[in-house]
C-alpha cells in the first residue's frame, strides 16, 4: 500500500485506545465503517518514542530460564532455540526432525505454552521461561512418561519426547479428555514407527489415573 494512503499517527499524543478506535471508524471500506473499538482496550504510543536496540548478526548474549535455572548463552540471532538447547545446554530431548516444525518432535514449553523449538529463535526467548521434556524424567518420572513406557507408546523413540510434551500439555489443559478428544487433540506430532494406538492408550491411562499414570 502506498505510504500516501497511510494517515499519520500522532506519536506520543497519549491517545489511549484511541488509535485503533479512530482508525477503524474512519478506515476505508464499508466493513470498517460501522465499527468501533472498546475504549482503553488497546494501548499504544503512550510515551515519547524510544528506539529499539538492533543486535546481531554477530552472536549476542541471551538470558532465559531453562528448566527453572537462569541460563545465559551466546548465540547469533539466527540460532534456533532447538540448536541452543541441544548444542549449548546438552538438552537433547527435543529432536530435530523437520525444518518447519511440522513434526512436533521439538516441542518444548515457552512460557508454559507448547511450541516448536525448531521454529523458535533463541533470541526471542530472551527473558522468557523454557521448559523441556527432561523435566518430566528423572527418578520419579511424570505420569505421562510412565504411561508411555507402560503402554509401549514408542518404538524407535525419536518422536517420543516431543509426543510426551504434547500429551502433558494437552492433558494439563484437558485433564478429563475422552478418547475422542485425545484423537482430535494430539495431531501436531508425527510418528513414523506407528505408535499412535499406544499413545492414545497411554494418554487415556493418565486421564484415568491408572496405576502407571
Amino acid at each position: 500500500m502506498n505510504r500516501d494512503q497511510l494517515a499519520r499517527i500522532a506519536v506520543g499524543d497519549d491517545e489511549r485506545g484511541g488509535v485503533s478506535r479512530r482508525a477503524f471508524i474512519k478506515g476505508s471500506g464499508a466493513a470498517a465503517a460501522a465499527t468501533a473499538i472498546a475504549q482503553g482496550a488497546i494501548v499504544m504510543a503512550d510515551e515519547a518514542p524510544t528506539s529499539t536496540a538492533v543486535v546481531g548478526p554477530e552472536a549476542t548474549a541471551i538470558t532465559m530460564t531453562v528448566n527453572g535455572r537462569q541460563r545465559t548463552v551466546s548465540a547469533e540471532p539466527r540460532a534456533t532455540l532447538l540448536e541452543v538447547l541441544r548444542t549449548q545446554l546438552d538438552l537433547t530431548g527435543a529432536k530435530p526432525v523437520s525444518s518447519d516444525g511440522s513434526s512436533g518432535a521439538s516441542t518444548v514449553w515457552l512460557d508454559e505454552k507448547p511450541v516448536s523449538a525448531s521454529t523458535t529463535l533463541a533470541i526471542e526467548c530472551e527473558g522468557k521461561s523454557v521448559r523441556t521434556v527432561e523435566t518430566l524424567g528423572g527418578v520419579k518420572p511424570d505420569p505421562v512418561v510412565s504411561a508411555f513406557a507402560a503402554h509401549d507408546a514408542m518404538q524407535c523413540g525419536f518422536c517420543t519426547p516431543g509426543f510426551v510434551v504434547a500429551v502433558r500439555a494437552f492433558l494439563d489443559k484437558n485433564p478429563t479428555a475422552s478418547e475422542d478428544e485425545i484423537r482430535a487433540g494430539l495431531n501436531g506430532n508425527l510418528c513414523r514407527c506407528g505408535t499412535y494406538a499406544n499413545v492414545i492408550a497411554a494418554a487415556l491411562d493418565v486421564v484415568k489415573g491408572g496405576s502407571n499414570g
Binding site: N2, A7, S20, A41, P49, T52, L121, G188
Partner: protein, 349 residues
C-alpha cells in the same frame, strides 16, 4: 539461515525506522511457524528480523457491542479460548482445523494472515510468481488454484482463517512509515537503523482488499509494502449472522486443506437475506463468490439450496491440468459451509 540483525520493539512507535523499504530486506517475526522454516531454506533471507511479539498493544482480544478487535500477535489458541469469539464460529472452526496444538499456541493471527504460499515450486526455490506461473501450468499443480489463475500467480492463498474473516466483513489495520515523514538512517548491513523522528501512519481496510494477486516479481500476496505491518484485525459484531468454515482435509494433521469455504449468512424467518461466501485454498486470494451468495439469498437453507450455491460457486472455475478434482471439492466446501452455518447436517465426514 543467512545471518541477520534482530530487533524486538516493545511499542508500536518503535517500529519507525526499523523496516527497510527494500523488498526482502526486513522480515516480520509474528509467530515464526512459517518464517523460520522459510529462512532455514533461504527462500526468505532478510538482513533483519523484527520480532513484533513484544509489542504489548498488538496483543490481546477486546470486544464491545460493535465487534471484536484482535491484536496481530494474539496467539491462535487464545482466540480459540476467547468467549468473545464465540459469536464467530467460522473463525473458531478455521483455527480448530489447524489441528496442531503447537501451531495454535505459537502461531499468531497476524502471522497466519501473512504466511507465504504453500506452493511447492515456491518452497523449492523457484520464486514467485512470474517464472513460477509457467512451471506450475506445465507441472504438478494438483494443489494449485482453480480460480484467479490466469495470471502468473497460480498458487493458492495459504491463510486458513482469512476466508472466515473476509466472510464476516473483518477489517485490518496497517501501520508503516507515513508519507513524506520517514527518514532512513545510515544503512547498516544494507538496512536502515532506528531513528527518532520517523513518522508512522496507519490505514484501515477491509480484509477482503488486503489480499492481492501479484502480477510481477516482488509484488507480494498482500497490499503490504516491505515496511508495513498488520497490527489489528477487527470483526464487526452482528448477532443475526450465522457463520461456518468447512475445510476438506484429507487427514487430521495440520496439512493444508484441499479446498475450503466460509459462509456468513443472515437468516431471517428461515430465509437467507444476506450472504457472504468465501472460498479458501482455491485462488491466490481468499475467493469471494458472489455467485454462491446470490444463489443462496432468498432461499431457505436446505441440502438442495446449499448444493445449488456450491454449483454456482464453481460454475466459472478454471482448473489447471491436474486439479479438476478441486472444483468438486470447492463445490462441496461451499455446500457444507452453508449447511453447517445454518446448523444442518453436512452429510459427509
Amino acid at each position: 539461515m543467512k545471518a541477520f540483525e534482530y530487533a524486538a520493539p516493545r511499542r508500536e512507535s518503535e517500529l519507525a525506522g526499523l523496516f527497510s523499504g527494500r523488498p526482502g530486506a526486513t522480515a516480520v517475526l509474528a509467530g515464526g511457524t512459517d518464517l523460520v522454516g522459510l529462512m532455514k531454506k533461504m527462500i526468505v533471507a532478510p538482513d533483519r528480523v523484527v520480532n513484533i511479539k513484544e509489542i504489548a498493544s498488538l496483543y490481546g482480544i477486546s470486544a464491545d457491542s460493535a465487534g471484536v478487535t484482535v491484536g496481530a500477535v494474539t496467539r491462535l489458541d487464545e482466540m480459540l479460548d476467547s468467549a468473545d469469539l464465540d459469536a464467530f464460529p467460522a473463525v473458531k472452526q478455521a483455527i480448530r482445523g489447524i489441528n496442531s496444538m503447537q501451531l495454535q499456541s505459537q502461531g499468531t493471527i497476524g502471522g497466519e494472515l501473512c504466511q507465504r504460499p504453500r506452493c511447492w515450486y515456491f518452497r523449492n526455490g523457484c520464486g514467485l510468481p512470474t517464472e513460477l506461473g509457467r512451471m506450475v501450468e506445465r507441472g504438478d499443480n494438483r494443489y494449485h488454484a482453480i480460480f484467479g489463475n490466469r495470471g502468473p500467480a497460480k498458487y493458492v492463498s495459504a491463510s486458513r482463517i482469512a476466508p472466515a474473516l473476509v466472510a464476516l466483513g473483518a477489517s485490518v489495520r496497517i501501520v508503516g512509515p507515513a508519507s513524506g515523514e520517514a527518514v532512513e538512517g545510515p544503512p547498516k548491513n544494507g538496512a536502515p537503523v532506528a531513528q527518532d523522528g520517523n513518522a508512522l501512519g496507519e490505514a484501515i481496510m477491509p480484509l477482503a482488499d488486503f489480499f492481492v494477486t501479484p502480477r510481477a516479481p516482488h509484488q507480494g500476496e498482500t497490499v503490504l509494502d516491505p515496511d508495513q505491518i498488520v497490527t489489528h484485525i477487527h470483526i464487526p459484531r452482528d448477532e443475526q449472522i450465522a457463520s461456518a468454515t468447512y475445510e476438506v482435509r484429507q487427514s487430521e494433521g495440520p496439512e493444508y486443506p484441499l479446498a475450503a469455504a466460509a459462509a456468513a449468512l443472515r437468516i431471517e424467518a428461515g430465509v437467507v437475506t444476506e450472504a457472504r461466501i468465501v472460498l479458501g485454498q482455491v485462488a491466490p486470494v481468499p475467493w469471494v463468490s458472489e455467485a454462491a451468495a446470490a444463489a443462496i439469498v432468498g432461499q431457505a437453507v436446505t441440502p438442495e439450496s446449499a448444493r445449488a450455491a456450491g454449483e454456482a460457486a464453481v460454475a466459472r472455475a478454471t482448473p489447471l491440468s491436474q486439479n479438476r478434482y478441486k472444483v468438486q471439492l470447492a463445490r462441496v466446501s461451499v455446500e457444507r459451509a452453508i449447511l453447517q452455518a445454518a446448523g444442518l447436517e453436512t452429510g459427509g465426514f
